[in-house]
Symmetry: C2
Subunit: 427 residues, 2 copies
Amino acid sequence: MKREMAKELSEKIEERIMLKGWIHRIRTLKNITFIVLRDESGLVQCVAGKEISLDGISNEAVVEVIGIVKEGKNSLNPYEIFVESISVLNGVIGELPIEINKSELQVSLDTLLNNRVLSLRNEKENSIFRVQHILVQAFRSFLSSEGFTEIFTPKIVAEGAEGGTALFKVDYFGEKAYLSQSPQFYKQMMIGAGYEKVFEIANFFRAEEHDTSRHLNQFTSMDVEMAFIEDESTIMDLEQELLKFMMKELNEKGEKYIEALKIEIPIVEEIPRFELREVKEILKNNYGKVIDENDLDPEGERLISKYVREKFNSDFVFITDYGRECRPMYTMPKGENGTKAFDLIFRGVEITSGAQRIHEYNMLVQNFKDKGLNPEDFSSYIETFKYGMPPHGGFAIGLERFMALLLGIENVRKTSLFPRDRHRLVP
Amino acid sequence: MKREMAKELSEKIEERIMLKGWIHRIRTLKNITFIVLRDESGLVQCVAGKEISLDGISNEAVVEVIGIVKEGKNSLNPYEIFVESISVLNGVIGELPIEINKSELQVSLDTLLNNRVLSLRNEKENSIFRVQHILVQAFRSFLSSEGFTEIFTPKIVAEGAEGGTALFKVDYFGEKAYLSQSPQFYKQMMIGAGYEKVFEIANFFRAEEHDTSRHLNQFTSMDVEMAFIEDESTIMDLEQELLKFMMKELNEKGEKYIEALKIEIPIVEEIPRFELREVKEILKNNYGKVIDENDLDPEGERLISKYVREKFNSDFVFITDYGRECRPMYTMPKGENGTKAFDLIFRGVEITSGAQRIHEYNMLVQNFKDKGLNPEDFSSYIETFKYGMPPHGGFAIGLERFMALLLGIENVRKTSLFPRDRHRLVP
């Protein structure tokens, strides 16, 4: 007998079918028991008369139900099952540590994460990672159709892409090695290798001590790099079209999860672009807020986002022309102190840093020195710029942070399946 | 002026166009210079009269060429460019360490890997990772369409999925941690979390000291796990259909790379399945080879593959019913000493291990003990089996090894962009 899914019963009315799944809820009346079964597709009520044996049936037990499909009268599902038999495939041992069958889990963040396998059975928590699936497929599918090649770069490295700070140390057969913070050097090297357009979605690692709702020690980076660009605007154009496609896909394929999470998908059209000096003016004139010449602080990000939301009806804004001292050593300079760098701010928080990169060897070496770094510590990266590196640039989106902002979730730990932070190494 | 690509000139005859790319080869005659330009799409010959300035033009320099498209007379490309101007976007500093413009790079493996960015510009080396791109997109696209969810699991872990051997140590804020060897525990936990069907493609790490052509210390694992299976045959059926789809996609989208690599794509139909005891008989009767009751050695894998190739015209063969002592502690037992485990052998080498897993808590705890492991060291994994874990199973394909066998490449280091081995941490 073939297994049917709870939400795909419309063609099965009056048929005898088999369902498999978890017991979501049990309500026992005098002569009848209502059992709500949950499988990956959703919920369905199963009605068992008192002649049906319910041995071992308890919330979250895994069962096989055989019964007849009937038109139902409840809001869970237009159909219900008149049970002929129900058997336990795998029961529950002891007390459940949390209650799963609520629309909102009434537990602390720590309890939620300590009981991750159970908390993920809750529809809302579960939907977060269904959305993630849609987003990452859309990211790859858009870039593949634009001729990009997916790459897998080293996660164990000898050199840190950010100049040696916040690195996890690995004992590599007695040699000094680190966990990679970003595919930055390698994605640029792939441009030098003639791939012209590359992307990677992978986990990277930052040994940051601080413990905020915005930081994870293992995060998922969605990285893009592209050769023969005009300047950073080519990259912003690309990111804008990519985000448009991702939101379109989410709308088309994620209806069920959007509903469960009660979220509003942002509309992506022409994303406004402001130079940092324009932002400075806007913040001063509209909010009396004075910012630094070279960089934007979190409050500044919130305010410019609010401004753009009100004036341009956009949840996104690109900020360009950041100062040189606030940008990494591989960023292409512009003018005396500027750079061809940009950030993308989404609902008040930065989700992307991007830029045109330096492609000229001597300029790169000088820039490393200007930042107080020894180019010899980065030789396998820097050497590649000697042999024909085209003009190029790229960006990265932090997946967990983007999802938290998209889904209105206050802490990035909830948008990571098994988050790693200062205090959390299990589960 | 918009950039055109070398292999997309058929609509541009007699037009003035711009190309950008690398200088692949230069041949200077008395009054004329032939310059072969290479971009991501391929090669095209550019013909420069002696009035054209060629300052800074050398092999592998990055240039912009403006010229008129003409019908050509050479085998590289049906078109060629009459150069009007050529300018260097980024030149070459010093001597090139290797010659790239050969059909086969005439260098040792070490030289090839030490100069990875340059060696990847060679068409054959380059094509390897174009094939990889097609394979991984096909893997995800097949599984997504079958309702699987992509997951990102922790790469820094407190417990090793293989019982503590060959683990890289990480200093995690002073705590003892390891690099993950496999998403095994976490993909099973995702089954327990109600996702029913999951996959991951990610880098994992094995601190194996040995230095063979088949092992990497960082490798790319393509993992699949699925709930509510009948037994391990559900998993083999799935893998067979997945491989069929991947080979179909490679044939359809990879023609250019298949040609460059001169490879034969295997035909996947019904993959023969043999129990280990049958393999034992076949090897004894056909090759006089005696194997162990519980496991197959590399020579046995080669011989059964040869047999199946000759008798069934298949490059693939599933071997089932391995002995319990040779399989991990989470493998579902079968009969007295057997398991519901299988391997997939491809062209003489194992590329997949798979199995139905144990889903029952007490059996799992006992099996850990039987293998000499302390269940308490794995508590965050084992605990999840108390609360309704469905019957499930899965498999993993090692991407680099699969590609090496598929492409007829003798060493897996060549199917990893930047391989990590006992002696190699850069580039």
